[in-house]
């Protein structure tokens, strides 16, 4: 049986030739992402903004009366202008309502609003079925925001620390920088497209961190191996060799993950769409950053073939001196 070869044997692509332009491009991308996050802001879902999201199905009607819902829910006290969208099918809707300023200091407010909205929906539409309610008070959503930031920072630092211990400090810095890029660009995409940013997206970003790191480690592991093997080879050449040698694996793994994710994106439950879409995008961002950020950073941080030669311990030095050697 002839086996499939996704990548031709012995590729020799000069990935790192363009390292400076790509690095500048990445820096611009990171800056643009943060500018977007600061200017546009993230479209926080109820998890992070507080308020409620009510999902409902019209069992007798083909199409949900979106405009009517918007005005009828909007006319309720304190609701403001709700975001009403179809969700999955045309007869399924999601109604999102932000917390008004009056909710400040009143933990019950969100729950009371939810009851008012669901009561009015049930009274106005006889065929409506309430599928789900998420109602989060201002205090709890504030805690979620805080925990999310902590989780992301702690995860990035902890894994960078691990890599520092397992490899060298330059590798830890490189991995941390690549992760910072991945997280920034993902956030930037959410700010650009104003996709709902919820707790699930934090889970997605942590999965992206995990995946991107996986890629970075595979490349780094090969770089370390080659540094010991080819002690005279110039570093850029050695990095290119390492990336090329692991290219078949990179393509294959990205592809298996992609073919697993796409069905979930297409036929999976609508409420998982944001999470899966973020991870799918992160797949590409993470692969790119491993090759174009994590690797070239090593050149600029001065990794060389002596980086992995074990340092002489004090005992060794004494022993050597005792033997009278230089």
């Amino acid at each position: 049986m002839k086996l499939l070869k996704l990548v031709p044997e012995d590729t020799n692509i000069k990935f790192l030739k363009l390292r400076v332009p790509f690095f500048i491009f990445s820096l611009l991308l990171i800056a643009a992402s943060w500018a977007l996050v600061l200017v546009n802001g993230l479209n926080y879902g109820v998890d992070f903004a507080g308020g409620q999201e009510i999902r409902a199905t019209f069992t007798q009607t083909e199409e949900a009366p979106i405009a009517e819902l918007r005005s009828s829910v909007g006319s309720l006290e304190n609701v403001g202008s709700p975001i009403v969208q179809t969700f999955g099918a045309p007869n399924e809707v999601s109604i999102r309502v932000k917390l008004p300023p009056e909710a400040e200091g009143n933990p019950e407010f969100a729950a009371e609003m939810t009851t008012a909205i669901t009561d009015s929906l049930k009274a106005n539409y006889s065929d409506i079925r309430i599928d789900g309610v998420d109602s989060v008070s201002g205090k709890v959503s504030g805690e979620f925001r805080q925990d999310a930031v902590l989780a992301l920072l702690a995860a990035m630092l902890a894994v960078a620390l691990y890599i520092w211990v397992r490899f060298e400090w330059q590798f830890g810095v490189g991995a941390l920088f690549a992760l910072f890029h991945d997280v920034s660009v993902t956030l930037g995409m959410f700010a650009l497209f104003q996709l709902e940013f919820s707790l699930q997206i934090i889970a997605a970003i942590l999965a992206i961190i995990g995946y991107s790191l996986n890629d970075t480690i595979v490349v780094y592991d090969r770089i370390r191996e080659n540094l010991k093997k080819y002690r005279k080879m110039p570093l850029p050449e050695l990095l290119d060799l390492s990336v090329n040698e692991t290219l078949a694996r990179t393509v294959m793994t990205s592809l298996t993950l992609l073919v697993a994710l796409v069905p979930l994106l297409v036929v999976g439950p609508a409420s998982l769409f944001g999470l899966v879409a973020a991870i799918t995008a992160g797949l590409f961002i993470g692969t790119y950053s491993s090759v174009y950020l994590a690797a070239p950073v090593l050149i600029w941080l001065g990794v060389n073939s002596n980086s992995f030669v074990p340092q002489e311990s004090k005992a060794d030095i004494q022993e050597r001196k005792a033997r009278g050697e230089a």
Binding site: M1, L3, L4, E9, P107, E108, A110, A111, T118, I130, D131, G132, V133, S135, V136, S137, K139, D147, L150, A155, A158, Y162, I163, L199, Q200, I202, A203, L206, A207, I209, G210, L213, N214, I217, V218, D221, R222, E225, E245, T246, A248, R249, M252, T253, T256, L257, V259, A260, L261, P263, L264, V266, V267, G268, P269, S271, L272, L275, V276, I279
Partner: protein
């Protein structure tokens, strides 16, 4: 690396078998087949987002517990001073700044007063609950210690959990989960409940019932203007009562609390067909109620529920039978809910709903169906790709993948974890990522062969050289997963659980099991060339 003595094989197969068996009850129930009752049946729990149900987070206000405690202390001190022989006269009592402070009329009483108060300060715990200080020789100040307040909040939360459990049980709902979260929060999870309004009303109602004498001397104009007569309090009438909008002044002390009830039932008053709640006092409550009504015949008293007046009838006669009737323009439903709340006891502290997540059972079932379909299609795609690329080694990876999924399910059942909707996404990602280990190994074997190594050496080196990166990658992913679990909440934790368990099982199946199978094949066939 390729040496597998029999004892090792037995161990590995044994472990695999146990985990796979543990997954069986969950698979049986997913396929609607009965698992024999006699056998152990660990099951993967379905999260509320898949099974349908409500998750409600309640938060208590600890300052309220402290205030209540101070009030109790005030009543106890007053009673002790009154009961003393001869009576110790005190005045200028205040409970501001979280302290109880009062003046003794004569400084000579100080030692007697101290002797009477000290036993009141002793809690039933080892911590010091109050500090007593004397200033200007005749002012006594009682300050609660932080430990004391903490202990009181803790006790209040524990008994609140009991009260909530009784209330939910009386709804006839099955298997609620009620757990304390942090210092002042309680999570209530009730599976498969369609209408959460009633549940929220029951949880939100403190049901603190009080009987207090109406302050008949208070001027209506004063009450309206918000001027509180000394020694009194002003309460509004409850919503839905006929007098809604009006205010009542009642004597602050000397009333009876509803925590001495033994029973409460909704009923109908035969005389006027009104919905009422019949209550039954315990012995102590009955005798207090008897003396209160005897001393105050023909005077009005207020029935107060959660700081709102339900009604304010007169004591027409002494009531000494230990039972009483509460009327207040109830509907049959609201009378029943009040009876349930009173029966389950008052919450020792107000609870506010700060987070609610409800998923209807239809949506949950739909999510499972769509999630499983996506998982099936994804798995077939991954397997096709693996076999097409690596041939025999791809088949080993595929079998490893099937065992991987079964072992994850088995471990989740055995560890009693919960599968959530993001958890299904975690499964799919694990399926996509688990083969990475095999990809790394197989690519390495290809390389080693290309460099001209013999089959056995190439395979051996492939596993050895690849395992370094596999371990590093999985450990860093483990770190990220654990942090997600620690900081995440609800369904997102379910995602972290699947990812973290999946890391261990992926390393086991991809690195250990496939190696055992490959080693067995190499040993049996001794191929001179391999197609990889």
């Amino acid at each position: 690396m390729l040496d597998f003595p029999t004892w090792k094989k037995v161990w590995l197969w044994g472990l695999t078998l146990v985990a796979v068996l543990a997954a069986m009850p969950s698979l049986f129930s997913a396929a609607n087949v009965d698992w024999p009752e006699a056998l152990p049946h660990p099951q993967v729990n379905l999260g509320l987002d898949l099974a349908g149900g409500s998750h409600i987070l309640l938060e208590a206000d600890p300052s309220q517990v402290a205030a209540q405690r101070l009030e109790n202390m005030e009543e106890a001190v007053r009673a002790e001073m009154r009961r003393a022989e001869p009576r110790i006269r005190i005045g200028d009592i205040s409970t501001t700044n979280g302290q109880l402070s009062f003046m003794l009329d004569s400084p000579g009483d100080i030692d007697r007063a101290r002797g009477l108060i000290e036993p009141l300060m002793q809690g039933n715990n080892l911590v010091r609950e109050w500090n007593l200080s004397v200033v200007d020789t005749q002012r006594m100040i009682l300050t609660p210690t932080d430990d004391g307040i903490e202990q009181a909040v803790d006790d209040a939360m524990e008994s609140a959990i009991d009260v909530i459990r009784r209330r939910i049980d009386s709804l006839g709902t099955r298997e609620p989960t009620i757990i304390r979260q942090g210092d002042t929060r309680i999570v209530v999870q009730v599976p498969g409940l369609e209408d959460t309004d009633q549940l929220k009303r029951l949880l939100g109602e403190t049901a603190k019932l009080e009987f207090k004498l109406v302050d008949v001397n208070a001027l209506i104009t004063d009450i309206q203007a918000g001027v509180v007569p000394p020694g009194s309090q002003i309460f509004p009438y409850a919503e839905g009562t006929l007098q809604e909008g009006q205010l009542v002044a009642v004597r602050r002390l000397g009333g009876i609390r509803g925590d001495s009830l033994t029973n409460a039932q909704a009923g109908v008053d035969q005389r006027n067909n009104e919905n009422v709640v019949n209550i039954q006092f315990d012995q102590q409550g009955a005798s207090k109620f008897c003396s209160l009504s005897t001393e105050n015949v023909n005077r009005p008293f207020a029935i107060i529920l959660d700081e709102k007046v339900i009604s304010a009838p007169n004591f027409n006669e002494p009531i000494c039978g230990g039972s009483a009737q509460i009327s207040g323009n109830f509907t049959a439903e609201s009378a029943n809910e009040l009876a349930i709340s009173l029966r389950s006891g008052a919450l020792p502290v107000d609870l506010a709903v700060v987070e609610e997540r409800t998923v209807g059972p239809d949506l949950g079932a739909d999510s499972i169906r769509k999630g499983l379909l996506a998982m099936l299609i994804g798995s077939i795609a991954v397997v096709t790709l693996m076999i097409a690329t690596y041939g025999r080694f791809g088949i080993y990876a595929t079998i490893a993948l099937i065992f991987n999924v079964l072992i994850i399910l088995g471990l989740m059942a055995g560890l009693n974890t919960t599968l959530t909707l993001p958890g299904i996404a975690g499964f799919v990602i694990t399926i996509g990522a688990a083969v990475d280990a095999n990809v790394l190994i197989n690519e390495r074997i290809r390389e080693e062969r290309k460099r001209g190594r013999r089959v056995i050496a190439a395979v051996e080196n492939g596993y050895k050289e690849a395992s370094r990166a596999i371990y590093d990658a999985n450990i860093t992913n483990f770190i990220a997963g654990v942090l997600l679990f620690l900081f995440g909440s609800g369904p997102v934790r379910g995602f972290a659980v699947v990812l973290v368990i999946g890391l261990f099982t992926s390393v086991f199946t991809a690195l250990v099991l496939t190696r055992m199978w490959v080693a067995g094949w190499l040993r049996a066939k001794r191929p001179s060339d391999i197609n990889v």
